[in-house]
């Protein structure tokens, strides 16, 4: 395969939490939002990142664009480490990595018209564009994402969520990025609109040859758009595999539980499906379980799971579990 566009190694994000009323010298409590995530992303590829809220998926995305401080490495194709770059040096890469946000309306300045919003990044990154040139690029982009030309002078609040997300996408793509990070871009939208936006994104991705990181909180959303999928739990990678492999033959108990919660359109299959309930709540990321972080909710957990942390296997289909295997394998096993 070609050279990766982005290779992330052992990315960690730790927040220091000060409780209200803490004295200045008390030790802050540490929240490890992302603890040691590694993956590679190839040009033109879509990586889906799935996890419950609190799994660190958004934090991971934000760390890649220096919105939150992180440690580890995130090496861009030209060798620059996005995490270590200074603010000034990062500026060169800003146009290459763009982001689409979860709440489309909140991500648009309410005092600007659609035309101004989409033109804004051009003003920063393509300073020598003439006014007419800029305008024509904005118009072309609006057309590309399915906005009407006569909407150019309207304000964001006049748009529906789905339309507003199109504006957000246009703003991200107008600078011709190489990587588009979509942070739950459809979670805030009506189900009927979600498919439209996802289709638009995958179309744009194909036509523009974009690499994409697509974050979602359930597996069904990323299924069709992703080439590979990474499942996160408490800031750690549980499983990372080609879409087909992950959906067809999930190896990790957590992935299996998530998949069993996805409704299947075929009623017969839906009835025949084995539902693996996820027991209990997500443990506090402040105080994660020892060994395998999933063990408190895992039906297969054994003593070893509490003692040693399973490493993500370095195969094409990576799993972080001491007892990986298809669903049936676990059916007869009695948790110790």
């Amino acid at each position: 395969m070609s050279q990766p566009l982005l290779s992330v190694e052992d990315l960690r994000v730790t927040f220091e939490l000060h409780r209200a009323g803490d004295l200045p010298w008390t030790r802050p409590r540490l929240l490890r939002a992302v603890s040691g995530v590694s993956f590679e992303l190839f040009p033109g590829e879509t990586l889906g990142i799935v996890g419950e809220s609190g799994s660190g998926k958004s934090t991971l995305a934000r760390a890649l664009v220096q919105m939150v401080p992180a440690t580890g490495r995130a090496v861009w194709q030209d060798g620059a480490d996005l995490i270590a770059l200074s603010r000034r040096a990062m500026l060169r890469y800003r146009a290459d990595i763009q982001m689409v946000f979860q709440d489309p309306l909140a991500s648009l300045d309410p005092r600007m018209t659609v035309g101004q919003i989409i033109a804004e990044p051009l003003r920063t990154h393509f300073r020598d564009l003439s006014e007419t040139e800029r305008k024509s690029r904005v118009k072309a982009m609006m057309d590309r994402v399915g906005l009407l030309p006569n909407q150019i002078n309207r304000y964001p609040h006049e748009f529906s969520g789905g339309q507003a997300q199109r504006i957000g996408i246009a703003r991200a793509l107008v600078v011709q990025p190489k990587l588009l990070i979509c942070d739950e871009p459809v979670s805030a939208l009506d189900v009927s609109i979600q498919a439209q936006v996802i289709n638009l994104l995958s179309e744009l991705q194909r036509d523009l040859g974009l690499a994409m990181i697509f974050i979602a909180h359930d597996l069904s959303v990323v299924k069709h758009i992703s080439d590979r999928v990474m499942v996160l739990y408490l800031g750690r990678t549980m499983e990372l595999a080609e879409s087909r492999a992950l959906y067809g033959d999930p190896q990790h108990p957590y992935t299996q539980a998530l998949l069993s919660a996805v409704p299947i359109p075929d009623p017969a299959a839906e009835r025949a499906k084995v539902v693996i309930p996820l027991e209990g709540d997500l443990p506090s990321p402040m105080n994660p379980p020892s060994g395998c972080v999933f063990r408190t909710r895992c039906a297969r957990a054994e003593d070893v799971c509490a003692e040693r942390r399973p490493e993500l296997t370095r195969a094409a289909h990576g799993v972080a579990c001491h007892f990986p295997g298809p669903v049936a394998a676990s059916a007869g096993r009695v948790p110790a």
């Binding site: 664009v65 919105m67 500026l91 800003r94 146009a95 990595i97 763009q98 982001m99 946000f101 979860q102 709440d103 909140a106 991500s107 648009l108 300045d109 309410p110 005092r111 018209t113 035309g115 101004q116 804004e120 990044p121 920063t124 990154h125 006569n150 909407q151 002078n153 309207r154 304000y155 006049e158 957000g168 703003r171 600078v175």
Partner: protein
């Protein structure tokens, strides 16, 4: 363009230019402002003040500084002869003095707004946006200013700078910005973490650009409302300084100074001190009503 089509042009939901979109928004704001009659009264008073100040030479029948005959025309009560509001101890027509005094009042109000608002906005948005020690330092300075009652602080500054209308304006401006800084900071804190600011930062916009292009416009409306509501206080402070002899100097027809001059004759010639007092009252009321009305239509949190 007839009135009807202009109305339609402004309310069009398909504006063809940015100017039309912006005018349309302003027009909608105006339509909702117009339904508030108290606010319209306030606006009327403020517009009247501006007009009177502009055309003082035409409106005032007499010279504001040169008096009439000291033997026959002192202390004429209101409505004697041509003296609508009577004359004062130096036979000057009080109405003419009030009309010319409106210029000083307007000058104070405008200059204080022009000086204090940008300072407050700059300090507040900078403190709120950057946070950390920048915030701490700027806000402690603001607190120091806020710790003193405004008139006292203004008095101290004028005492240091020397009496006079210019120094009074500077002193009032220096004492007026802290509340605007606090307000702008509070607004900035709510805006700072919103996604569209993150989006702007991700696009590589500089801090200055974010502050100026995204944060300030959003703080502007609440600060403008606050400034308008403060106008009454500013006028009163200016009048207070004038009254104490530290603001405008005689024979300038400043309203506060006029009250100070008239207070010696309050029992026998009540109108000398009362008339400028009424003027201060009406103008302060006008700014307050206008500010309330503006808050109703402009404040995004009160709307809907």
């Amino acid at each position: 363009m007839s009135a009807m089509t202009r109305h339609e042009w402004l309310l069009s939901d398909r504006p063809t230019s940015r100017r039309q979109a912006r005018l349309g928004q302003a027009y909608r704001t105006w339509l909702s402002f117009r339904t508030n009659w108290l606010a319209m009264v306030g606006l009327g008073i403020v517009v009247a003040l501006v007009l009177v100040a502009l055309f003082a030479n035409v409106i005032a029948p007499y010279d504001p500084v040169l008096g009439g005959d000291l033997r026959t025309e002192r202390f004429l009560p209101p409505l004697t002869g041509n003296h609508l509001l009577g004359t004062d101890d130096l036979s000057r027509d009080i109405f003419s003095r009030i009309v010319h005094g409106s210029r000083l009042t307007l000058l104070v109000v405008v200059l204080v707004a022009v000086i204090a608002t940008p300072i407050g906005l700059l300090v507040g948005t900078t403190a709120g946006y950057f946070g950390g020690w920048v915030d701490t330092v700027l806000m402690r300075i603001t607190d120091i200013f806020l710790a003193f009652p405004r008139l006292i602080l203004a008095l101290a500054f004028v005492a240091a700078l020397g009496p006079g209308i210019e120094n009074a304006i500077i002193a009032i401006a220096i004492t007026s910005w802290p509340p605007y800084a606090r307000l702008a900071r509070a607004e900035t804190l709510t805006i700072r973490d919103s996604d569209f600011i993150s989006a702007a930062r991700l696009q590589g916009a500089s801090s200055a650009r974010i502050l100026w292009g995204h944060v300030t416009p959003l703080c502007l409306s609440s600060v403008i409302i606050r400034v308008t509501l403060d106008m009454a206080g500013i006028i009163l402070t200016a009048a207070g300084l004038g009254f104490l002899g530290l603001g405008a100097q005689p024979p300038q027809p400043e309203w506060g100074a006029m009250i100070a001059a008239g207070r010696r004759f309050l029992i026998d010639q009540w109108w000398v001190a009362t008339m400028p007092g009424v003027a201060i009252f009406i103008v302060s009321l006008g700014f307050n009503l206008l500010g309330d009305g503006l808050r109703d239509v402009l404040d995004p949190k009160a709307r809907k």
